[in-house]
Each structure stands twice: as structure tokens, then as C-alpha cells.
């Protein structure tokens, strides 16, 4: 199943811990290649924790794992159609537009992507 969603790269505490271990180490790679999706969206797309999904922006595409997004304990938000991925080489690969509107800053937290999944094992390996 394929849908268009808004990808918002973000920081997480786990990512901050992992980058101290090293950006070339598995912990950092794993954290920066796991996209967080609202449970409601995961259910609609037929996704389970750990499923592989394809994210496509322009001519670039990456394959990442997915997991349900942790929401606030006291307040549930209504942010459907928005997915979150910790900053790193994967999110950079999807930042295909380097236009900064004369500021130096790309629209880093507003990436329109197509999400496709769940992928079959052989497809996500390839």
C-alpha cells in the first residue's frame, strides 16, 4: 500500500546516546533508519513493528524499519499522516531539495514522501 505523508526528521535521546558510541556503529544506524508512525496510520497501512517500508522523495528512495510512535502519556495528539525519522544519512538522502529560500536552511522538517509497505523480505533485502 502506498500513501503520501509528511516526513519530519527529529532528534531522539536514543539517537543522542548512540552517536556518542559512534555514527558508524550499529546502534546509531538502527536508530536513524527506523521511522516512527502513528498507530492509526500503521493499522491503515497494515504495518507491524519491525516491518520494512520504502520512503520515496523525488528520485531518491530508502528502505527503513517502522515502529509505532510514542505519544505523550497525558495527551494523545491527532497528528496523522506525519511520520518521524531521527536525523542521519537516511533522512539526508530524502532531503532532495537543497533550496534554502535565501536563508541557508533547507525545509529540513517538511519533507513530502511516499511511503510504501509492508515490503516483502526479498524486496527489502534487495
Amino acid at each position: 500500500m502506498t500513501e503520501t505523508m509528511l516526513l519530519v526528521p527529529m532528534r531522539t535521546a536514543k539517537q543522542g546516546v548512540a552517536l556518542n558510541q559512534g555514527k558508524l556503529k550499529d546502534a546509531y544506524k538502527k536508530e536513524t533508519s527506523t521511522v516512527e508512525i502513528k498507530q492509526e496510520d500503521m493499522d491503515r497501512l497494515g504495518l507491524k513493528t519491525g516491518d520494512r517500508v520504502r520512503l520515496r522523495a523525488g528520485t531518491e528512495e530508502v528502505i527503513v524499519s517502522c515502529k509505532p510512535r510514542k505519544e505523550g502519556k497525558k495527551v494523545q495528539d491527532t497528528a496523522t499522516g506525519i511520520i518521524f525519522l531521527p536525523y542521519g544519512p537516511i533522512s539526508s538522502a530524502l532531503m532532495t531539495d537543497g533550496d534554502t529560500a535565501g536563508t541557508g536552511m533547507p525545509d529540513s522538517k517538511h519533507l513530502i514522501v511516499e511511503i510504501e509497505g509492508p515490503l516483502a523480505q526479498e524486496e527489502s533485502d534487495g
Binding site: G72, A79, S92, G98
Partner: protein
């Protein structure tokens, strides 16, 4: 005050050490150091990020001090090669500095001036738009000490300090008791504005969910209310926030005694960028007609604030600076590194203590793969892997002394825990500048 005392053989305890992982720059660390193994075994008072910062920066003596094209070379050979790359370039770019001391940042600006190069810090893809915004409208500013002692209204807008700056709340802004905040958390109201709920929402009294890309409209709506106007119902559709919620928020902001707006990349990396930052600063200015209100960007890396500060007092500008006419010029969009790389203009790059190959836009990374790069980093990164000359450096704050600036522009001294066999950024920059000067003289 003696900051270190010997506890037992080969174990050293460093009191009042400074954590340089994030912009909080907490300077109340108590580090237990195993001098034999050259590692920190305990970091009392550190948050989860600080504990990882101290624990994971032991010394790996198997790493070469310098490499050219992936092959081990001496420090002198690498400095000579780096100097040649930079001197022979027509448009060299020097970038990074946010994880380096202000002493090294000062030397970096000197190097840029000598090379007629472009110099830029990670601010340009962080709070650069904030700098642009506040230059236009002014900055109602403060220190974290004032926040601790006076603030009864804390607003976290487009930032998630519980994940990114854990002690911003627990040490400075929310939990501590202060001079005029005798009951700590009970005397403060915390408001979180974001496109989604986060771990920061868990500590907030009020959560306001704004539609992605609509922060400017919500800020402008609040300005209208604070200035005595009424909101058009269209604001609700535009921002996703009910009118009564916006009115309630404005009322709370106006009725506090001392309020602070902390904000993050949720404003600077989205539609509006510097206009969002301007609107936030103007809202604080408007609120000062009713009460006392201030603004602080939640800065990321340990000394990114220092990079802005040092470049401002060295050149007059905080980031995105070009020396190619012999004097400094500042033009975001023209002299900011992402733009230069995306346009394919730079023909060499010197990356100091940062990792643009892991967080720049794809077209910028594609260009950086084509040009000779020099990298300074304590650990291997995508940038050091792509660099023609890669220096392994000592870790600032853990191995080297110096000065860093906290997110509220307060300079904090570093108290290193143990010595590293690797040179600091400054130890490399000084002979590099000397060698560049020699090569430049030989050209004329």
C-alpha cells in the same frame, strides 16, 4: 577553588567539570576518571546524554592521528597536505566548529581571513534563521540563572528538551527552586506547542497542537490578542488550534510574572524559518507591555553558541561569512554552506568538529563527495570517511581545556578529565595557519 583532588591511585575525581554535549553546558559534573584506562567511569549529575558523552569518549590509541586518502601519515604530513589543498583552492569553505572550543574557533576565523575563504558554522542549519530573525526585531534576552530564579511561565515551542536537552528542565527551567520560585515546579506553568506530543508534553501543563507549517500564523494570532485585537475564525482552520485555546494561551502568557519562550528547530527548519523566529521575538516584545517576557533558542551542540559569538566579535556577523574580497561579508543563502555546496561552487572544504555528510541536503552531499575535504573529529564519521585528509582530535572538555558558551551566551571554562595522545583542534589549527601563511608568502 581546587577542582580536582586525588581519591586513590590512578583514580581521579574532577569536580565542577563541564559537559559539552549539548547547549545546556552543565558545569556541575563530578567525574570519576580511570587514568590507567583513560576513561571516565562515572559522571555524577549528568543526564542520559551526558553519561553517554563521558562514557563513550575514552581514548582509542589504535587510531592514527592523521590519514591521507585513508592511509596513516604523520601529523606534519597531514598538516602540509591540508594547507596545500586550502591554499590551492579558488573557493575554499571552512565549516563546523560547534563541537570545538572558542579558542579554536578564533583560530579558525583567522585561517579563513588568511585564505580569503568562506567560513560558516553549523548554525546555518540550526538556529541561523533565529539570528536573522532577531537582527530584524531585537532580542528580549535573559540567562538561564534568571530563568531558574524568576520564571513562572515556561513555553517550549517546536522543541523537545526532554529528549534533546534533558537538564534544561530539571536543572534550569522547570524543576529547580529559585529565589522568587520557592516551590520549584509547583510555582511554574509549562506550555508545550508542537505538531505532535512528545516526552516534553509529559511534563507540560498545557499542550497545544499546531498544524505543521502553521507556527507563524499561530504566533501572529497570539500577537493580535496580546495587542488587544480579535481573531478572525480563519485562524482556527489555518493553525488547527481552536480560537478559544488560542485566547486561553494568550491570557495565560499575559498574566504570568516572568515568562520565557524556549524554541527549537520546529520553527527554524520549517516553512517561515526566520519569519517564525521574528514572530516569536515580536510576541515576547508585545508581552512586555503586560509582564516580563524573554526568548531563548534551545541550542544544540555544546559550543554552537560560541561559534556565533566568536564570529560576531571577530567579523561582525554570526555565520555565513565570506572573506574573498579581503573583508567579511555576510549573506545567508549566498555564503551559507548548504547553498554553496548545492550550487557546486566550493572546490575544497575544511570541516571542523561537525558532520555535514550525515545531515546536509542530498545535493550538497553529492557535491562534497567531489571535492577534497579535510576533517577534524575525535571519532570516525561519514564526513571523516569522505575526507582526503582526516585528523583524529582530542575531545574538547574531556581532554582539552578552553572556553565554551552556554545557550544563553554565558562563557563557561572547561575542566578536562584526562590527557589524550591526540592533538586538540587548536593544536592542529595553529601549525596549519602557520603553514598556510608560508605557502601564501611563497606564491608572491
Amino acid at each position: 577553588m581546587d577542582s580536582s583532588v586525588a581519591a586513590e591511585p590512578n583514580i581521579r575525581v574532577v569536580k565542577n567539570a563541564t559537559c559539552t554535549f549539548c547547549g545546556c553546558v552543565c558545569d556541575d559534573m563530578e567525574l570519576t576518571v580511570d587514568l590507567d584506562q583513560k576513561r571516565i567511569t562515572k559522571a555524577k549529575n549528568a543526564c542520559v546524554l551526558g553519561k553517554a558523552w563521558f562514557a563513550e569518549h575514552s581514548v582509542d590509541e589504535s587510531r592514527p592521528v592523521a590519514m591521507i586518502e585513508g592511509k596513516e601519515v604523520s601529523l606534519d604530513e597531514a598538516i602540509d597536505e591540508a594547507a596545500k589543498i586550502l591554499v590551492n583552492a579558488r573557493f575554499p569553505v571552512i565549516y563546523g566548529m560547534s563541537n570545538s572550543t572558542s579558542e579554536a574557533q578564533r583560530e579558525t576565523v583567522k585561517m579563513a581571513d588568511l585564505l580569503s575563504a568562506n567560513v560558516d558554522s553549523t548554525s546555518s542549519v540550526c538556529h541561523g534563521p533565529t539570528g536573522m530573525g532577531l537582527q530584524g526585531v531585537g532580542e528580549p534576552t535573559t540567562t538561564l540563572g534568571e530563568v531558574k530564579n524568576r520564571a513562572d511561565m515556561i513555553v517550549y515551542w517546536g522543541c523537545n528538551p526532554s529528549d534533546c536537552h534533558p537538564r534544561l528542565s530539571t536543572h534550569y527551567a522547570v524543576n529547580p527552586k529559585g529565589m522568587y520560585i520557592p516551590n520549584g515546579r509547583k510555582d511554574r506553568t509549562v506550555i508545550n506547542v508542537d505538531v505532535r506530543s512528545t516526552t516534553t508534553t509529559n511534563i507540560a501543563d498545557v499542550f497545544v497542537q499546531v498544524k505543521p507549517g502553521s507556527d507563524f500564523e499561530l504566533l501572529w494570532g497570539l500577537r493580535i490578542l496580546v495587542r488587544g485585537g480579535k481573531l478572525n475564525p480563519a485562524f482556527e482552520e489555518q493553525t488547527g488550534v481552536p480560537i478559544d485555546v488560542i485566547e486561553n494561551l494568550a491570557s495565560r502568557l499575559m498574566s504570568c510574572n516572568y515568562g520565557i519562550l524556549f524554541f527549537g528547530m520546529g520553527l527554524t527548519m520549517t516553512r517561515g524559518r526566520h519569519y517564525n523566529a521574528s514572530a516569536l521575538h515580536m510576541l515576547a516584545t508585545d508581552l512586555n507591555e503586560h509582564t516580563h517576557f524573554v526568548v531563548k533558542p534551545a541550542r544544540g551542540h555544546g559550543n554552537v553558541t560560541g561559534a556565533d559569538t566568536v564570529m560576531s566579535w571577530q567579523t561582525g556577523y554570526p555565520f555565513g561569512i565570506n572573506f574573498n574580497r579581503g573583508y567579511p561579508r555576510h549573506e545567508p543563502g549566498e555564503f551559507t554552506t548548504t547553498d554553496i555546496m548545492c550550487r557546486g561552487e566550493a572546490d575544497a572544504a575544511c570541516i571542523i568538529a561537525s558532520d555535514p555528510m550525515a545531515n546536509f541536503a542530498k545535493p550538497a552531499i553529492d557535491h562534497m563527495k567531489k571535492i577534497p575535504m579535510i576533517s577534524f573529529d575525535p571519532k570516525p564519521t561519514p564526513t571523516s570517511q569522505a575526507a582526503r585528509v582526516a585528523f583524529t582530535t582530542a575531545c574538547y572538555g574531556i581532554n582539552t581545556p578552553g572556553t565554551v558558551y552556554r545557550m544563553d551566551d554565558i562563557p563557561i571554562p572547561l575542566r578536562p578529565a584526562f590527557e589524550s595522545p591526540f592533538p586538540s583542534d587548536l593544536d592542529i589549527l595553529k601549525p596549519l595557519v602557520k603553514r598556510i601563511r608560508e605557502l601564501k608568502r611563497a606564491q608572491y
